[in-house]
Symmetry: C2
Subunit: 313 residues, 2 copies
C-alpha cells in the first residue's frame, strides 16, 4: 500500500476530529479508534491466538520502530501465521494512523490474529490471518507524577504463565495471570504487580520487565520474559555507560533486598519502584542508577538512528 | 429483556436469510454472526481478559443450559467482573439467537469481557464489563465419520498452562498452548493433541477433557482441567451405570497403556481416541465402555430435566 492509496483509504474513515482520540486500521481501512471492531469469530479473540507489538511515538517521531517490526515479524512466524501486508505497508499503516490522529505522543499497536475459521472447522491451518493496527494517545504505566515518587509494587502469588506453555518471546495477550496479579496488588495496597515463576524467581509484570540494582550492579530476569525493546535499550545503555548488568534468574528475595528496583516498558520507559510489598526499597525514593538510566532513555529519543519522524502534513 | 423487546431488537438486524449462518448479540442488539464485531480496545481481546461458555442445541433443544449458565456466572465472579444482564435476559438472548438462526443443531457461546478501559487507564477496575453471545451451526471436534473410527491423538510436548497461573475452572481463551499442541500433532500425523502438566500427567486437549479405560474402570484428570459439563455428564452416567470412575492424576503413560481412551466435549459429546502417538489403543477401534457412554450421552438429550426446547415460532 503506497502513500497515495493510504490517503485515499483514510478519507473514507470520517472527518478528522473523529480521529483525535485515535485511529485504527481494520479490515483494510482506516477508522476512528472508537469505531474499530474485530470479527467476533476471529480466533485472535476466541482463542487469543494472536501476537502483537506496541511501539510509541514521542514528540512526533517513532522510537525504535524497526526493532518492534522485527520482533513482530518473528512472533508471527513462530505462531506459523503470515501477514497479509508487507513490512513497508505495515509501516505505512502505522504512519497513516498517527497522521490521521495528529497525535505527537502516541501508543501504536499492531496485531496479527489467526483469523476466522471456515464454518465448522477447528483447524488453525484453515484460517486466513488478519492484521489490525491502532494508535491512541500515549499510555503510561505510571504517570509522570508517580514516576517521580516511584511506584508501589507487590510480588504476586500468581505465577506467570510458564515458557513451557506459552513462549513469552512471542508477545501475546495471555494476561489473565497478570490481571489477577493486579487485583491482588490492589487488595494489598499496591499499584502494580510483579509475577514470579515456579522457582520463586521474579519474571515480569503487566506490560513491563523488571530490574534490581544492588551495590551499583543491575540484574534482570533472562528466562520466561518478554524480550522488551525498552529492556533491550536499558541493557544497551548500561553497557554504553559501563554499569554492570547481568541477565540471570533473579530470586524474589533479591528484589526485596535491592538498593533500587525499576521496570521498563514502552508505556513509560524506565520507571522506579520505591516500595515492594509495602517495604521501602533503598531509601524509598528513586535511586541514582534508575534516574540516570531514565534520563539516558529519554535522551536516546533524539538519536536519529532510533527515530522515524512522522510527516504530519 | 423480555421476549417482546427481544423480537423488536431482532428486527433491526436484517432479513432472516442473513441469520442462517448464525446469529449474534453484540452491543445490545442482534446481528447476523458474519457482521458481529467486538471493540478492538476491549480488554477481552487485548488482554484476553474474558470468560465464556458454550452450550449446545440438539434437535431443537438446549442441553443442560442451566449448568452452563451456572458455570459462566461462577467464572464471571471469579474474574471479578459483573454481567450487564441478568440470568433470564442471557437465557432470552441465547433463545433469541437460536430462533433467529432457525438452527436445530447449534453451538451457542456466551462471553463476558473486561470491557474498554477509559482512555489512558491500565486499571481493570475502571472497566464496564461487556456481554456478547453468538450461535452458529453445531461444531464437531470430530465429525460423525471420525467418531465411528476414532480420532488420532498425540500427547504434546507443550505443557498446559498451569492452574497456579490461570484458573482452568474459569473457562478462558488462553489457547496458545493448545494451538501449538495442535500444530505439533499435525506435524506428527495426529488429528488432535492432549497436553500434559509439569509432572507429565495428562491434562486436557483443545476443547475437551480426557478419559482412560483400563480393565473396565475409568480414570480422568482431576486437577488443572476445565470442569466440563460433558465431563460432568460422563461422571454422572458412569455412576448411574455402575462403571467405576476415578478423578485423579493420570500419567501420560497410563493413556498409552489404556484399553480405551475417549474425550468429552460440548462439541461432539463422547468421542473415541483410537491411536495415541501413532500406536493403536486397545484394538484400534472404539471400545465398549466408550460406545456405551456415547450412546447414553445422546440418549440423555431426551431427558426433560436437561432439555430446554426452543420455541422457533
Amino acid at each position: 500500500m503506497g502513500d497515495e492509496e493510504l490517503e485515499q483509504n483514510a478519507k473514507t474513515g470520517g472527518d478528522s476530529r473523529a480521529y483525535a482520540a485515535g485511529a485504527a486500521f481494520v479490515e483494510g481501512r482506516f477508522v476512528p479508534v472508537a469505531e474499530a471492531r474485530v470479527p467476533i469469530l476471529d480466533w485472535g479473540f476466541l482463542r487469543s491466538d494472536a501476537t502483537y507489538d506496541v511501539a510509541h511515538v514521542w514528540r512526533g517521531s517513532f522510537f525504535r520502530l524497526e526493532d518492534h517490526l522485527d520482533r513482530f515479524e518473528r512472533g508471527v512466524a513462530r505462531l506459523r501465521m503470515s501477514l497479509p501486508y508487507g513490512r513497508e505497508e505495515i509501516r505505512n499503516v502505522l504512519l497513516g494512523c498517527v497522521r490521521l490522529s495528529g497525535l505527537r505522543d502516541a501508543y501504536a499497536e499492531i496485531i496479527c490474529t489467526r483469523g476466522v475459521p471456515p464454518p465448522g472447522s477447528r483447524d488453525p491451518r484453515d484460517c486466513e490471518n488478519n492484521f489490525f493496527a491502532f494508535v491512541v494517545p500515549f499510555v503510561w504505566i505510571a504517570d509522570p507524577h508517580k514516576q517521580e515518587r516511584g511506584l508501589h509494587a507487590t510480588i504476586s502469588r500468581v505465577r506467570r504463565i510458564a515458557p513451557e506453555s506459552v513462549d513469552p518471546t512471542v508477545k501475546n495477550y495471555h494476561w489473565l495471570d497478570l490481571q489477577k496479579g493486579l487485583f491482588d496488588a490492589y487488595d494489598r495496597g499496591g499499584e502494580t504487580a510483579i509475577l514470579v515463576d515456579a522457582g520463586d524467581n521474579v519474571v515480569e509484570g503487566p506490560g513491563f520487565n523488571v530490574f534490581a540494582v544492588k551495590d551499583g550492579a543491575i540484574s534482570t530476569p533472562e528466562h520466561g520474559v518478554l524480550e522488551g525493546i525498552t529492556r533491550k535499550t536499558v541493557i544497551e545503555l548500561a553497557a554504553r555507560d559501563r554499569i554492570p548488568l547481568e541477565a540471570r534468574p533473579v530470586p524474589a528475595e533479591e528484589l526485596r533486598q535491592a538498593d533500587e528496583v525499576f521496570v521498563s516498558s514502552t508505556a513509560g520507559g524506565v520507571i522506579p519502584i520505591t516500595t515492594v510489598d509495602g517495604e521501602a526499597v533503598g531509601g524509598g525514593r528513586p535511586g541514582t542508577v534508575t534516574r540516570r538510566l531514565r534520563e539516558a532513555y529519554w535522551d536516546l529519543h533524539e538519536d536519529p538512528r532510533f527515530s522515524l519522524p512522522v510527516a504530519y502534513g
